[in-house]
C-alpha cells in the first residue's frame, strides 16, 4: 500500500536502529503519546531492539482507555433502552463499565451497531425516524472534526432523533500533566501524528520551551517511530529541546484549518476527568450552546450516575507511564482481554492489550523482564 508499506521497510528500519544505537551515549527515557504508536512499538519489537539506547514509556493516548467510567455506564444505560439504536466505533464494545459492557447489552437484545464513521450514524438516524439514534462520540482531536461535522450536519438537516454521547479529550493538557508531575521521568515526547495533522504543533512550542523537552511529531509505522526516536535522541545528546516534525508527509505547522474551524464551531474546551488519571483542566470538549439539543446526556437526563471501578485495576498507573503492564499483579491472570479489569486490556490501542497479545510469554515463562 503506497505511503504505508514503505514505512515498514526492514532494511531502512534496521539501519535506523543501528544509527540510534551509534549516537546514544546513555539510555534516554522517551514517551510515545499515542496508543497506536505503542501498538506498533510492541508489535514490531522496537523497544526490545533499542533496549540499551532508549526506554519507551507508553503514554495515555488511548481515548477508549481514558473515557470516564461514568460515560461508559451512561452508554450502557442508553443502549439498553428499547427505542434507542446505539451506535459506536468498534473499540468501545468490550470496554468494561461498572457491571457490564456494550457487547453484553447487545447479546441481551439491545440494538447496538458498530459504525466506521459518525456520518454512518447520522444516516441510520435519518433512515429510522421513529427511533432515537445515539452516537458514542469518543476520541482525541483527530476524531473531533468528524464528530463535529456529524452534529453540524444534523443541525442543518434538523434531524431530531440524533444525538451524541460525547467523550472528547485533548492531548496537550495530558502531556503537560505528565511532565509537570514530580515523578516524571520522561525526557522527550513522540507526539501523536494524527492529532497534529488536525491541530498542527504550535501549541507544543511553549511546552518544549518551559520543560526543556524535545517534542517530535511522529507517525505510526515502524520507520516513522524509529526516525522519530532518532530525532529525539539527537536533540537530547546535543542538549536541544525543540518541536520537530517527523511526520512531514501529513503534518503542517498550522494543521488542518478547516477541520479546526469545524471543531471550534461545534465544541468548546471544558475540564474533563480521565479514567484512571483523574481530572485534567481544559482537557475535554463539550458541545456548544447552539448544539445542546444533540447532547444525549441532557436529552436523556443521564447526568447523575454512580460508578464502581475495580479496585484491583492499575490502569491509571499504566496510562501515566508509572507501571508497565506486565508489572501489574493482575496482568494475564485475573485481567485478560476476555475478562478485563479495565479499559487498557481491552482496547486495541491499550498498552495492556498490546503486551498481552504480543509479549505475554515474557512474564508467563519468567523470561527476561
Amino acid at each position: 500500500m503506497k505511503y504505508l508499506s514503505e514505512y515498514r521497510d526492514g532494511d531502512i528500519a534496521r539501519g535506523l536502529v543501528q544509527t540510534i544505537r551509534s549516537v546514544t551515549t546513555r539510555c534516554w527515557v522517551l514517551m510515545e503519546v499515542c496508543g497506536g504508536q505503542t501498538h506498533t512499538i510492541v508489535r514490531y519489537g522496537i523497544d526490545e531492539l533499542l533496549v540499551d539506547s532508549v526506554e519507551l514509556i507508553h503514554g495515555p493516548g488511548c481515548p477508549v482507555c481514558v473515557t470516564p467510567l461514568a460515560q461508559i455506564d451512561r452508554a450502557l444505560a442508553l443502549a439498553s433502552r428499547r427505542n434507542v439504536i446505539f451506535t459506536s466505533f468498534g473499540d468501545m464494545l468490550r470496554v468494561p463499565g461498572s457491571k457490564s459492557d456494550l457487547q453484553q447489552v447487545r447479546a441481551g437484545g439491545g440494538d447496538v451497531r458498530v459504525v466506521y464513521s459518525p456520518l454512518d450514524a447520522l444516516e441510520i438516524a435519518r433512515s429510522n425516524p421513529a427511533r432515537e439514534v445515539v452516537f458514542f462520540a469518543v476520541g482525541f482531536e483527530t476524531t473531533a472534526p468528524a464528530n463535529a461535522m456529524a452534529v453540524w450536519r444534523a443541525k442543518e438537516l434538523d434531524v431530531r432523533n440524533f444525538s451524541v454521547l460525547a467523550s472528547h479529550v485533548t492531548v496537550l493538557p495530558a502531556m503537560a500533566a505528565i511532565v509537570e508531575s514530580p515523578q516524571n521521568r520522561v525526557q522527550a515526547f513522540l507526539a501523536a501524528g494524527h492529532v497534529c495533522t488536525v491541530m498542527g504543533w504550535t501549541e507544543y512550542e511553549p511546552l518544549a520551551e518551559k520543560y526543556r523537552v524535545p517534542i517530535i511529531v511522529t507517525g505510526f509505522e515502524p520507520v516513522d517511530l524509529l526516525e522519530g526516536i532518532l530525532l529525539a535522541v539527537r536533540q537530547l545528546e546535543s542538549g536541544r529541546h525543540q518541536v520537530e516534525n517527523q511526520y512531514r508527509r501529513s503534518v503542517k505547522r498550522e494543521g488542518n484549518l478547516a477541520a479546526r474551524e469545524m471543531v471550534s464551531t461545534v465544541f468548546k474546551p471544558v475540564d474533563r476527568s480521565w479514567r484512571g488519571m483523574g481530572p485534567i483542566p481544559a482537557s475535554g470538549l463539550a458541545l456548544r450552546e447552539e448544539f445542546v439539543a444533540f447532547d444525549a446526556e441532557l436529552k436523556f437526563e443521564l447526568q447523575n450516575i454512580a460508578v464502581a471501578e475495580s479496585d484491583r485495576c492499575r490502569a491509571g498507573d499504566v496510562l501515566r507511564g508509572h507501571l508497565k503492564p506486565f508489572e501489574c499483579p493482575a496482568f494475564a491472570g485475573e485481567c485478560t482481554p476476555e475478562s478485563p479489569l479495565g479499559a487498557p486490556m481491552v482496547s486495541s490501542e491499550g498498552a495492556c492489550a498490546a503486551f498481552y497479545n504480543y509479549r505475554r510469554h515474557r512474564t508467563a515463562d519468567g523470561l527476561k523482564r
Binding site: 539501519g15 543501528q18 494524527h194 495533522t197
Partner: protein, 97 residues
C-alpha cells in the same frame, strides 16, 4: 491515535453539500468526505483518511525526500557494523526492565 490510512482519490463528486470522494486503499474502496481538504485535491491525490474523513493531503514531495534520506542513511558503510547491539559504551539502564 487514530487509525489514519493513506489512500488514493479515484473519484470526486461536488454535487452534494460537501465534496465527497471515492478513495482506493490498496484495492479496497470507500466513500470519503473531502470537506476538510476540499480545495486542495483532485483525482490521483493521496489523502490520509480517518473515520471516513480525509484529514490531510499526503505531501508526496516530502514523502519522497524522506525516503531518499532514509535510504541513503542505510547504505552500507554509512552506519557502523550491523552485528553488535549496544555499541554505546556508557549505556546504563535506568532501573527497571
Amino acid at each position: 491515535m487514530c487509525l489514519g490510512i493513506p489512500g488514493r482519490i479515484v473519484e470526486i463528486s461536488n454535487e452534494g453539500r460537501f465534496p465527497m470522494g471515492v478513495v482506493d486503499f490498496g484495492g479496497v474502496q470507500r466513500d470519503v468526505c473531502l470537506a476538510f481538504v476540499g480545495d486542495d485535491v483532485g483525482v490521483g491525490h493521496y489523502v490520509i483518511v480517518h473515520v471516513g474523513f480525509a484529514i490531510s493531503v499526503v505531501d508526496e514531495q516530502e514523502a519522497n525526500r524522506t525516503r531518499e534520506l532514509l535510504t541513503e542513511l542505510v547504505r552500507p558503510g554509512v552506519v557502523g557494523s550491523a552485528a553488535e547491539p549496544g555499541i554505546n559504551r556508557l549505556a546504563r539502564k535506568p532501573g527497571l526492565l
